[in-house]
Each structure stands twice: as structure tokens, then as C-alpha cells.
Amino acid sequence: MNETNVVVVGATSAVAQAAIRLWAQRGHTLTLVARNAAELERIAADARVRGSPQVTTLTGDLTERKFIAESIRSTNAPRIALIAYGSLTDSARADTDVDYLADELQANFVSAALWAQLLADRMAANNAAGGSIAVISSVAGDRGRGSNHAYGAAKAGLTAFCSGLRARMATRRVHVVTVKPGFIDSPMTAHIAKKGALWATPDAVAAGIVSAIDKKRDVVYLPGFWRLIMLIITHIPERIFKRLKI
């Protein structure tokens, strides 16, 4: 079990850091990928102290095709992967700034799909062992909403891509789990004293991801009640939905 190598793409995100701690405690080796080298080194050090026998760091632009390919080529047989980065697109800016919109779609959909595809191929090639890939999509991908059309669309694409990839990989021993978190308590929301029940901590979401991988789940909403909320939201007739300010 200790030979398990875990690749975390977007390792500096709060959810990724919490998941890394859980895997480090289990004694897994880690390959951590992120853009901010200084933060990444601190996260790697933390994982070592917590019990990971070997931590490798890769720094670069996660959305860049060449970096994605080279990172995966240089990684020791990955058994578990978590794709955890994303950018919460500002819809108002996307309305007027086409370059920004293109970059956001590239980051949230295209590049994440590339990581998933190449990691899955790499795991399948290693076919005796296979592997598991968790991709963080979002409840926002279940239906396009006026308040975040660009982000929602990219996540919808990612959700569909993962669903198809899961089917393609089903006979090749690679398990793909689509993770759909709701609102996550980010550092900047932590001071809002009464956040209400919809907000989940990064710890709770990370624990849900690690458990979904262990149990080979296909699609998980985190926390689980979001499945019900989204069931309702996806069944509102479009004629009404388009007028809702959500």
C-alpha cells in the first residue's frame, strides 16, 4: 500500500491541501503540482512531516499543454490522482472580455480534461495496477445559471468529459470519480460568522474525496445533500429558470 503514488494537480488549493494531509498520514508517496513554488514547497514539507515517505514537486502553468504532458511523463506510476484546481470565473467580466473568457474556459475545462485524459492513459498503460482519478467539477456544472454561465459551462463540459472517460476506462482498470462540491469555505469566507448549513469546510470535502476514491464511487456530491438540491434545480422548467436570479 505504501508504494501508492498520488498525483495532486493544483496542490495549493485548500481542498487539495487537506486531501494531501490525509494521504500523507496513510504513508503514500506524493507528486504535487502547482504554480506557486514557495507555497508548494511548504505543502511538500508538511506532507513529509505527516508521514509521506517521498514527495516530488512540479511547478508550472497547469493550463499549458506542454507542461501537462511533461509532468505526466516524468511522474512515477501514478495510482491515485486528484485534479483540484479551478478558477471561479467572474461572469460580468466574461461578458465583455473575450480573452478572459477564453482563458477561463481553457483553465476550467480544456486543461483539466487534458490532465484527466493523460493521467488515465498513463494508469491504463500500467495495466496490472490501474488507478483512480478524482476530478473536481462542481454543482455549477449541472445547469447553466445566469450568475456564472462561463464557469458553469466549463464545469458542465468537465462533468460530461469525466462521465465519458469513466466509460472508456471501465474495462481498463481506471476508475474516474466526478466530484461535485457545493460551497466551500474559503479563507476569505471564514470570517462570515453565520455562513449557514450549505457551506462545507475544505476538510470535510477532502475527506469525502478520499473516501469516494476508496469506495470507487462514480459521481459524488459533497456534502451529499447537494444531489437533492441539484435534482430540484435541474427540473425547474427553463421558461421559469431563465428568470430566476440564481
Partner: protein
């Protein structure tokens, strides 16, 4: 345990742990390039009872996300971590490897930065001294420095950092000395004392317990006889299940109503507690160390038990020569003034000096009382108690204070001007403004 937002003062970031009032803050998060250019106060998990963790009208710079453990030297037991790492997290990661914190206060939900800034003490003060004695070095950001600098015990700045109430800079990292332990248990002995209105029995138990690493007493200050329960403990091995604290945590779901918080409730509670202790069959047992050190941490947001109006904690220390006579006198004074108090704690400090300029402990006896929603009569009684403490050369603990006068503070800590001289000009706290501005100049 990872990103522990739920252990950040779960009620409000604008209140101290004792609650009672709301401050107006802007909030910011310490990151790798913290902004230090304005009136701010570093804050960890907000467990200080009073306004040392409050900066009304200014910014709180939160450090609880800077909680990475950076290196552990398993030969010498030295841990380097970010200052926002909690003692809870460190204990849980290190205990399976046979290491524990050298000093722990009554809650594990404090950051390393907070433990250093308040130079916290624990049940082993008589043999170990305060937390600051185990700081090998730390690094600070200051608004008047270009970049983070390392401060070691030999440096001039070091005494201002230990017990410096966070005023000497934003702590980035710290290296602390851990200690080896045989396992996750504590072998505990319990003995009843008092009943004669004196604390001599308790002090005698302290003297007989020099071979015990941890000693503490619980004392019923509402009882004329000053009855109490003495606990002493030493590290012991235990089953692996004890390596982590019990996951099933209770949460205090609501604020306790006012009627539950009066003097008669306190009397009834204290009497029930004493009876429960005196009826226990085992006076010697091995228990999980979590239970020995942090009984209140088992209840999330336990400060709600004191109701919306909160509570204050009054902790004073008086020097050894005066303790036998002065402690019962102060407690009798508070009792006669009808000050309600739950769960008062009594502890004899040792003579190991801390490197901190403003450290609270001194050789002598300390008592900490929880007082729910103090009214003006309670506050006046506490002012008189302050004077009794000052008259024998004692002091009151800033980390728990929300009410002492500037004049008293300056009498307790004449060295405060040295801290003021090294304070980062961009850092301040409600506490510091309160106790360093005399009443005459207040507008």
C-alpha cells in the same frame, strides 16, 4: 487535523473566547506576503478570554491557515512549523511517534504563535516552566523590517516575542522543543483537600508531588471551607485508540439561559462536582492524555454554556511567601462580595524563569476563576482583589483579562514600557490600548 476552520472560535471572530462584547474588525489572512501597513493584530484561534485577541476598529490578521509543519528532527525532537499550526494538530501528528508538546494550556485549540505570544503555562509549570522556555527560534515579519527575520533566544528582540501579546511582530515560523513520552496515557491520582477554609492541604499535596510531572487543583471558592480536588499525573502508555482524541465531539447547541448562571447555580454545580469526585472509587487510574489535559475541548463551543453575555476569567498569581495567607483572603473577599464562580483552578508555579519580558507566571500560587456575566458589583470586587494581589507583589494574567485598570496593569507589569518600545508600530490590540492609556488621558 488539516484545515481546522471549525476550531477557529466557532461563535464569532469578532469576540474573544469570553464573549460579552462584539468588536468591529476588518479581517485579513496572513499569507506568504502579508500586508503589514496598517493597524492590525495577529490572531490565531481566538481562545484568549479577553481583549488581547481583539483589535476594535482595526484589522485582525488571521494566521490559522498558515499551519504547515515544516520539519521534524526526530533525533533532538525539534519541530519547525508555521506559527498558525495548532497544538491540537501537532499533538496528534507527533504522539504516534512518541513525542508530545513540552507545555500545554487547558485547551489544545491554540496556535503555536498564540502559545508563544501569551507564554502559556500548564500543569507542569513546577517542573517545566512556561512555553517560551521551549522556543528554539522563530521568524517574524515586522512593518519596519524589509523581510522576515529569525529571532533566537540570544537576540535582543526575543524577550519581547515571548509573552509579547503578538505586539512584537507577525510570527511566520517557530521551532519548538518537543519531549518524548511513553505513550498516549496519563496515570492520574485524585485526592480531596481542604474544608478548613485554608489552602494548606493543597500546598502540602503540591510539596509531596514533586515527583509528579503534572499537578493541579480544583477548588470550590463558593464554599467557606475551600474544599477541593487535587489531581496529579504522569505520562504513561495506553492503547492505540488513545493516540487520537475521541472523534465524537459534543457541540453546545445554544447559549445557556440567564437563570442558569447565577450564584446559586454555581454553588449547586460546584457541590455536585465535589460529590462526584469524592464518590469515585478509583483514586488512581490511567486515562487518555486528551482527557487529562483538555477536558473542556470535548465540548465544541463550550463558552456558550456561559450564555450570550459571556464570562470573564480572573487569574492571578501571588508569590510563594504570601500564598498561604493571601489566596484564602482574596477568595473570601470574592465570596463575600457574592461573585459567582465555577470551576476555579489552583496551581503552584515553580521557579523556572521564562525568557519572556511579560511572562505571567512567577514562583507562587495561581488561581483562575470563571465568572459569568459580571455586573458592576462583581467588577468592583475584582478591582479590590487586584489591589490585594498587587499589595503582595503578585499579578493578573493578561491573556485572560478583559477588565483590569491601566494603573493596575502597570503595577503588575512595570516592564510594559520595554515591550512598548519594541512593539511593531503597525500592531496594536484593544487590550494594549486599554492598559497603556491611563484613564486621565482617555477621551
Amino acid at each position: 487535523m488539516g484545515r481546522t476552520y471549525d476550531i477557529v472560535n466557532p461563535i464569532s471572530l469578532d469576540q474573544p473566547w469570553g464573549r460579552g462584547f462584539n468588536a468591529a474588525h476588518t479581517h485579513a489572512f496572513a499569507d506568504d506576503k502579508p500586508l503589514l501597513a496598517r493597524n492590525f493584530l495577529p490572531r490565531g484561534l481566538g481562545r484568549s478570554y479577553g481583549d488581547v485577541c481583539v483589535n476594535d476598529g482595526g484589522t485582525l490578521l488571521h494566521t490559522f491557515r498558515r499551519d504547515r509543519l515544516l520539519a521534524f528532527d526526530d533525533v533532538h525532537g525539534v519541530l519547525t512549523c508555521e506559527a498558525g499550526a495548532s497544538l491540537a494538530d501537532i499533538a496528534q501528528v507527533m504522539l504516534p511517534h512518541g513525542w508530545f508538546l513540552p507545555v500545554v494550556p487547558g485547551t489544545r485549540y491554540v496556535t503555536v504563535g498564540g502559545a508563544i505570544a501569551n507564554d502559556v503555562h500548564g500543569k507542569n509549570h513546577h517542573v517545566a516552566g512556561a512555553f517560551g522556555r521551549f522556543v528554539k527560534s522563530c521568524s517574524l515579519y515586522r512593518s519596519d523590517w524589509q523581510s522576515a527575520q529569525t529571532v533566537a533566544p540570544a537576540d535582543a528582540m526575543f524577550p519581547s516575542v515571548i509573552g509579547g501579546l503578538g505586539l512584537s511582530g507577525l510570527m511566520n515560523e517557530a521551532s519548538i522543543q518537543l519531549k518524548p513520552v511513553p505513550g498516549p496515557g496519563i496515570m492520574q491520582e485524585t485526592k480531596l483537600f481542604g474544608g478548613d477554609g485554608r489552602i494548606d492541604d493543597c500546598l502540602a499535596l503540591d510539596e509531596q508531588s514533586s515527583a509528579w510531572e503534572y499537578t493541579v487543583g480544583w477548588i470550590d471558592t463558593l464554599d467557606r471551607g475551600l474544599r477541593g480536588v487535587f489531581f496529579r499525573g504522569k505520562h504513561a502508555d495506553g492503547p492505540d485508540e488513545w493516540l487520537a482524541p475521541n472523534a465524537a465531539r459534543l457541540t453546545m447547541p445554544m447559549d445557556a439561559p440567564r437563570w442558569a448562571l447565577g450564584r446559586w447555580s454555581a454553588k449547586a454545580f460546584n457541590a455536585a462536582y465535589y460529590r462526584a469526585q469524592s464518590m469515585r472509587t478509583a483514586t488512581r487510574e490511567t486515562i487518555p492524555l486528551w482527557q487529562f489535559f483538555f477536558p473542556l475541548d470535548a465540548v465544541n463551543a463550550w463558552n456558550r454554556a456561559y450564555g450570550k453575555r459571556g464570562f470573564i476569567q480572573y487569574q492571578f498569581v501571588v508569590p510563594t511567601v504570601a500564598a498561604r495567607e493571601t489566596v484564602p483572603r482574596i477568595l473570601a473577599h470574592l465570596r463575600e462580595a457574592n461573585v459567582a464562580s465555577y470551576l476555579a483552578v489552583i496551581k503552584t508555579f515553580g521557579d523556572l524563569a521564562s525568557p519572556g519580558l511579560m511572562s505571567f507566571p512567577m514562583p507562587g500560587t495561581t488561581v483562575a476563576l470563571d465568572i459569568p456575566a459580571p455586573n458592576s458589583l462583581d467588577l468592583r470586587a475584582l478591582d479590590r482583589a487586584d489591589a490585594m494581589v498587587a499589595d503582595v507583589g503578585g499579578r493578573v494574567y493578561p491573556a485572560k483579562d478583559a477588565r483590569m485598570s491601566a494603573a493596575m496593569f502597570q503595577r503588575f507589569f512595570p516592564q510594559w514600557r520595554a515591550l512598548e518600545a519594541t512593539r511593531d508600530p503597525a500592531i496594536s490590540s484593544s487590550f494594549w490600548r486599554r492598559v497603556t492609556t491611563s484613564q486621565d488621558t482617555l477621551e
